[in-house]
Symmetry: C2
Subunit: 369 residues, 2 copies
């Protein structure tokens, strides 16, 4: 059937299909067992092949960050979409109106400044959209302050084209808890409690709040399981990555995504130069502050290379350093588990899909800027 | 004719066509006036539109980092190509053989380990390639040690399919001289002197070394103008960027590339959240270690926004901070001069080309991984 990886041009993006399937199944089962809906973030894979596997495992739809991601899924006939970014500006308002007519999309707002133009544009077009209020549970990015949510829900009633259906948060503050899984899970539960409490308060005040949505992969063992939370939007879990390992989400053996690279120079003692750099890995540093990913043996399924760290990178060159580089020679291959699967996938137009050691498919990566 | 930028979906990648044309012309004139050939690196623009403008201004060909870049230019009928990365591994050897048959490509080697398989693959295929020896003049990445170049040239005579034609370096060590232009130019001249000396020594020993090639944008005022250097391979100069400003290559007003973004939240005092994050800018930090680029007024040609810094980013969100953010409201737009034009361009499939305030074209960005 498929060939091995030897003939692949490097660098190459590899997906371990078995690990991916296990990750997809495990998250689907864990959430289903607790009665929590799963609406995964499509930004991690940007792949219809992965999205269809998630749907088959029970996902109720997808979370999107950009109009291009929404369009990718809508064009494939996939609904249940939440656009988890503020729809601001003429082009995004026009996009929201068009998407409202197609159906299957829920949008998020976090302020009257965002809501007013949207409510007016939808009304003018004679259409409407379901809306979630985004809440800031500690990341300090977008989202309304929890104390302002009730007043915002009240204000939204001015625009009947905005049909409030609940609240949403991204508990990205959990990424600050590398090396402190217990603290991470406490912070994850706190975020869930804030959200569940807001759902209750909204309903008590007569506002519809059937959806209480949380979402992050490090939080996926804690936040969604606070009573009152109805869904999670984790994304990175399909592949996991070195950051998730550092955050205690999974062990390294669960990571399904690697970059295959070739050693091109070993002239300097203690250093091996590879042909994977920033344009293969992304420039994302580790949550621990160091390096560009975990260096593994080239064999699919192979473990870490002892004494070899990926410490620096230029655009198309990576610097492996450490005593273990003495065992590497020009032409050798390594695989790298990236720090951040989402930004690494985003560097690539396609992934090479492996079943064991065989390349069995190529998956297109879509909706990049 | 064209519309303004108001209707553009944000984030968007903008090219100021007038500034680009001025940058292309200025580098071509400066090198031509000193009798130095210009073989620009295509990695910065990844655009045939930009490449054709460079050719029209007198470029003798292009430098490429990947097979995809070589193929893009070969398919467009453009020759004079140097592939400035080591061709290691079966797929790259096969690519080199195929490219040799098409013609117009020069490759680089820096060791016998790289040269031997290439020389053998070419001989077996009954073809040959012109070859430059890559030299490490201080970056500590790939390239032979200057002291080893003569011996390597001697060794290369074992493979007649490798037709030595000179030496090449990337003086990337100059990027360590932010805020020290005089030191940068001294280091740039030193790199040029090393290369010119190697060219002389090779010729004195009977080796062909008609090409003495250097290349970097910060070094483009010093390294190529050392007597004996024959060509420069600068790339970033077409757009310049915030790093080049920090390195003293040009003032901010020369930068031709910006990312247009929309403010989506101003809830937190001293902060404005925009819809351009790591997937619009790349994660590349500044050579000064801080931030994701220089924040400008939205009007094409507009200057810096006082008291506004781009200090943090997530995938599709940017964090602007500082007292100047008090003047920003939801829906406002800003433009960002990226830290590193090459990695930012690489995030995009197309650029919106502006003539003054009008969007007059869209240029395709090709050959991304």
């Amino acid at each position: 059937m498929g060939a091995g990886t030897d003939g692949l041009m490097t660098p190459a993006l590899l997906v371990d299909r078995g690990r991916l399937a296990a990750n997809v199944a495990e998250m689907a089962e864990r959430t289903a067992a607790r009665g929590v809906a799963l609406r995964p973030h499509v930004k991690t894979s940007k792949s219809l092949d992965v999205a269809r596997a998630q749907l088959a495992a029970g996902a109720i739809g997808f979370t999107c960050s950009t109009p291009a991601e929404v369009r990718l899924l809508q064009d494939a006939g996939i609904g249940g979409l939440v656009w988890a970014h503020q729809p601001v500006g003429p082009a995004k308002l026009a996009f929201a109106v068009a998407a409202a007519r197609r159906g299957g999309l829920t949008v998020t707002v976090d302020s009257v400044e965002v809501a007013a133009p949207l409510g007016e544009a939808l009304a003018e077009a004679g259409t409407s959209l379901p809306v979630l209020i985004e809440v800031d549970t500690g990341l300090g990015r977008t989202g309304a302050d929890p104390g302002d949510v009730l007043a915002l829900a009240e204000a939204l009633t001015r625009w009947p084209a905005l049909r409030l259906c609940g609240v949403l948060t991204h508990e990205g503050q959990l990424y600050a808890h590398a090396g402190d899984r217990a603290g991470l899970e406490r912070a994850g539960r706190r975020a869930g409690e804030v959200m569940a409490g807001l759902g209750e308060r909204l309903r008590a005040a007569g506002h519809p709040a059937g959806i209480v949505s949380v979402g992050s992969t490090p939080g996926a063992t804690s936040t969604p399981f606070v009573p009152g939370v109805t869904e999670t939007r984790a994304g990175t879990y399909v592949y996991y990555d070195a950051n998730q390992v550092a955050l205690g989400s999974v062990p390294l053996e669960r990571c399904a995504l690697t970059v295959l690279a070739t050693v091109v120079s070993t002239r300097r003692r203690g250093t091996a130069i590879i042909d994977a750099g920033l344009k293969a890995m992304s420039s994302d540093r580790s949550v621990t502050g160091e390096g560009f990913g975990a260096v593994l043996a080239p064999t699919p399924g192979g473990g870490p290379l002892d004494g070899v760290a990926f410490t620096a990178a230029n655009e198309e060159h990576g610097f492996l350093t450490g005593p273990g580089t003495a065992r590497l020679t020009v032409g050798d291959r390594v695989r790298i588990v990236p720090n951040h699967a989402c930004t690494t996938v985003n560097m690539w137009s396609e992934a090479q899909v492996l079943d064991g050691a065989e390349v069995v498919a190529r998956w297109r990566i879509s909706a990049r800027h």
